[in-house]
């Protein structure tokens, strides 16, 4: 389901970041590939009444239950496409999933020199990089759902 693009380098190069670029409501974001569990089709989520911001549901995968982080709500966007995807990320509190646009994510390798501080405040980010006029944040997965950022 993934395709590679950009300036790929040999894995293990110390000065490069391997990221996966995906979209939520048309907004492009990146996440380090080391923090990606897997990607599949989005299934039915099961709402869990509660008061944790942006964590309001779970999904069931066979015998496993994973919390859903509503990144689209964080960004105030609506998921695009009829077949959204399920991005599983590795979080310090346990894996969780994010519903993302149906647009196929792309793997990229970024030279460390192109990574800069993220200027936005809408998502927790470890940094960002420029893609033309667009600034793509590299999500800080460990800070998702951990309060304000």
């Amino acid at each position: 389901m993934l395709r590679t693009t950009g300036n790929s380098r040999h894995h293990g190069m110390p000065r490069s970041w391997h990221v996966m670029v995906f979209s939520v409501g048309g907004r492009r974001l990146a996440v380090k590939t080391l923090e990606v569990g897997d990607i599949g089709q989005w299934g039915e989520s099961i709402p869990v009444p509660g008061r944790t911001p942006f964590v309001t549901a779970v999904i069931r995968r066979n015998q496993t239950v994973l919390p859903v982080f509503d990144l689209a709500a964080v960004l105030c966007r609506t998921i695009q496409g009829n077949s959204p995807l399920c991005l599983r990320v590795k979080h310090a509190l346990g894996d969780m999933v994010i519903c993302i646009d149906e647009k196929i994510p792309v793997l990229q390798t970024l030279d460390h020199s192109v990574i800069q501080a993220y200027r936005g405040t809408d998502v927790p980010a470890e940094g960002s990089y420029a893609n033309g006029e667009e600034e793509i944040p590299i999500l800080s997965v460990s800070r998702l759902g951990m309060g304000s950022w």
Binding site: I46, P49, G50, T52, R60, V65, P67, H91, G145
Partner: protein, 178 residues
């Protein structure tokens, strides 16, 4: 892991007994009650329960659990089921959309609420149970009854609604077991 309606009273549960849960639907969600804290299930057809039921002279104050959980409002139905709960000296009743039956599982099959849920809901649920290709939330009965405890406990004054109350099935015993 199967659901079955219990028809006969059995021995009291021990600490080693597999936990049993009454699986219900409330507001479109599967919600599970700890069976050992259930006093019975009332079934009534054609009449909305408008007040707290009285069973054998004991008042079970109506608890609007759907409202507390902010679940979607239920439309009027022909059949109403009400779960009677007791915890220590407190009692309450909860109207449910549907009673699916009692589920007996191993303790290890009660999954913890994922740690990403960090709000007060951690007190609302005891965990999760895999059920019907979905998930049932195991309610913390103490929390369910909490509002009543804070309100000073239940009165035992009988109300006029007692005559429409009928205990249902095998979980009518005072200390239902599995």
């Amino acid at each position: 892991m199967s659901v079955s309606a219990k028809k006969e009273e059995r021995a009291a549960p021990t600490s080693t007994s597999p936990p049993c849960f009454l699986i219900t639907t409330i507001g479109g969600r599967y919600l599970a009650f700890e069976a050992q804290l259930i006093q019975g299930v009332l079934a009534n057809e054609g009449v909305e329960f408008l007040q707290s039921p009285v069973v054998q002279g004991v008042l079970y104050r109506a608890m609007n659990l759907a409202g507390r959980l902010q679940l979607p409002a239920e439309r009027l139905r022909e059949r109403i089921d009400v779960v009677l709960l007791a915890h220590e000296q407190s009692r309450c009743s909860v109207q449910v959309q549907k009673v699916h039956g009692i589920l007996e599982i191993q303790r290890s099959q009660v999954l913890p609420l994922p740690a990403q849920f960090r709000g007060p809901e951690r007190r609302w649920y005891r965990g999760l149970i895999l059920f019907n290709c979905s998930v049932a939330l195991v309610l913390n009965t103490s929390w369910v009854i909490e509002e009543q405890i804070e309100g000073g406990g239940a009165s035992v004054e009988p109300l006029a609604g007692e005559s429409i109350v009928a205990l249902q099935g095998a979980i009518q015993s005072k200390s239902p077991t599995c």
